[in-house]
């Protein structure tokens, strides 16, 4: 006969999921309407993040950094997705991708210093070109942080001129590889895919009761028998 347990009224709480966009807004992004499509895609990504936020175990926070001549925070503070709104960006200048990675590393360290419990953050990088600064230094800085190395890193290469090598270095051995939008019109679908994939990868969903496993380790058969009787 199965005995029902008592509801202990445990106050278990949602953990933060930090979703950080790293967006290329160099001059080439103004060609073929890419920056407009990207802006539209960012608006469209919000409902997907808000849906992930519906899970009582998850609080989604969004940030965005853009890079052109320099890297600058576009959404500087971790913003609850419930109140998040996208403000359009424009394109001009070079591609300071390495600086963006360094700044994200700094931010992740700051967050990690103050937050004990969190999901693996999601870093979603979109670029149509090649870094014009020290990409290796930025990536090394990111990977030198515990939380940056553990982050879920996604990358979207837009068009033929995107440097796939550096994006591949960024994602590492991610099962998703580097996503490729060969045509600007594909950007929106891929941003949606990155948003969905990022949240799904960061927040694992438990199959009810399937995770139960037997306790392990005993020293001898006599002890095993007694102990298993005790714990079964």
């Amino acid at each position: 006969m199965t005995t029902d347990g008592v509801d202990l009224g445990e106050r278990m709480a949602a953990k933060p999921l930090h979703f950080i966009w790293l967006l290329d807004r160099s001059g080439s992004m103004s060609e073929d309407g890419k920056i407009q499509i990207l802006n539209h895609a960012m608006h469209e990504s919000i409902p997907i993040l808000q849906e992930a936020d519906q899970d009582p175990k998850v609080d989604v926070f969004v940030q965005a950094i853009t890079f052109s001549d320099t890297a600058q925070w576009h959404v500087a503070q971790p913003t609850p997705v419930r109140s998040f709104q996208w403000v359009d960006i424009s394109a001009q200048g070079l591609t300071a991708m390495g600086e963006a990675l360094s700044k994200v590393a700094d931010r992740l360290e700051e967050i990690h210093k103050h937050v004990r419990r969190m999901y693996r953050p999601v870093l979603a990088l979109v670029s149509d070109g090649a870094p014009t600064d020290d990409f290796d230094k930025g990536l090394a800085r990111l990977m030198s942080t515990t939380i940056g190395a553990k982050a879920i890193r996604l990358a979207l290469a837009v068009g033929d001129r995107a440097n796939r090598d550096v994006l591949a270095q960024f994602v590492g051995n991610s099962e998703f590889g580097v996503l490729e939008a060969s045509h600007p019109d594909d950007i929106e679908n891929y941003i949606r895919l990155m948003t969905y994939t990022g949240t799904q990868s960061a927040v694992p969903f438990a199959a009810a009761e399937e995770g139960r496993t037997q306790a392990t380790v005993v020293l001898d058969e006599a002890a095993r028998t007694d102990w298993e009787e005790e714990t079964d």
């Binding site: 278990m12 515990t146 590492g172 380790v217 005993v218 007694d226």
Partner: protein, 297 residues
């Protein structure tokens, strides 16, 4: 709180155990097995009373790709060390127990764990798949670190309890929790938290000098009247809103034991651990060592 029973507590003499270990959703998703281990022993071996318990949490990331074995070895080392002490020491007076907990226990647990790891490495050298996975997933610095210290692949924490006739010995390295509840319903933590509670970093048996992070304390049972001891991997406490909520829940669990008996305790703990793992996402293991209440249902 058990205010209604304060001062009129009759401590039962038999220590019993219930433990549950559940795979974390994050590991479930990535195809990993449960990296936690839990074990317990009756003393004397073959007897009915459980007095030795250990829980270990294998780190479970790609840099510690054998941490499932590391946690199993940690539990084995802890239990063997305690059993050897309890069965070979002529007089287990409190001074002897304190000396052992402060000196011999940590050294012998570490030595035994390293022996088990070394034997495993000898019998099962790293495979090309394990190493290629590390190279693909980790920075070259981590790969070099593993080459210099292959023990790192087995990284795991440890919490342990040894109950003698007069004392309870608590020991810990790394994260995880040990919480006690007294006969009066007072909840306590015999060991302080690690120095860096606001990060995912933890001390580990695989560290270069792990005994620097070893924590231990000894309680005399006549003074503390402990009736329940919870040992848990951090997947359990990590699900709670804060430390106070966690401790309140352990206290409530002791109340379930007092009012509902052992079957209710077991069912309640199972439910709570199943709930916790969905919030923490981590492998979640809890062992509750308790005095069987006399006359309870």
């Amino acid at each position: 709180m058990f205010a209604d029973t304060a001062g009129s507590v009759s401590l039962a003499t038999t220590w019993r155990l219930h433990s549950v270990s559940m795979l974390g959703p994050s590991h479930e998703k990535s195809g990993l097995t449960n990296q936690d281990a839990v074990g317990a022993l009756a003393v004397p071996p073959g007897g009915a009373e459980v007095r030795l318990v250990a829980v270990s949490d294998g780190h479970g990331d790609s840099a510690h790709f054998r941490s499932e074995r590391g946690s199993t070895f940690a539990v084995q080392a802890a239990l063997e060390t305690s059993l050897q002490f309890m069965t070979s020491t002529p007089s287990l007076d409190s001074d002897t127990v304190r000396d052992w907990a402060g000196e011999a226990q940590p050294h012998r647990v570490l030595e035994r764990w390293r022996d088990l790891v070394a034997d495993d490495l000898t019998e099962h050298p790293f495979t090309s798949e394990e190493l290629s996975s590390l190279r693909a997933g980790e920075s070259s610095a981590r790969a070099r670190s593993l080459a210099l210290n292959p023990v790192r692949a087995y990284g795991a924490t440890l919490v342990g309890v040894t109950v003698t006739a007069d004392c309870i010995v608590y020991c810990q390295i790394g994260d995880g929790d040990i919480v006690t509840v007294s006969a009066e319903g007072l909840v306590g933590q015999p060991l302080e938290d690690e120095a860096h509670p606001f990060s995912n970093l933890t001390s580990s048996l695989c560290d270069a000098d792990p005994l620097r992070a070893w924590r231990a304390s000894v309680q005399e049972q006549s003074r503390h009247q402990t009736t329940l001891v919870m040992l848990a991997s951090d997947g359990y406490s990590g699900a709670f809103e804060d430390k106070a909520s966690f401790l309140t829940t352990v206290q409530a669990l002791a109340e379930v034991l007092r009012t509902g008996g052992e079957a209710k305790l077991r069912a309640t703990l199972d439910q709570s651990v199943a709930k916790a793992r969905t919030f923490s996402g981590d492998d979640t293991t809890v062992a509750v060592l308790y005095r069987a209440p006399e006359g309870a249902p």
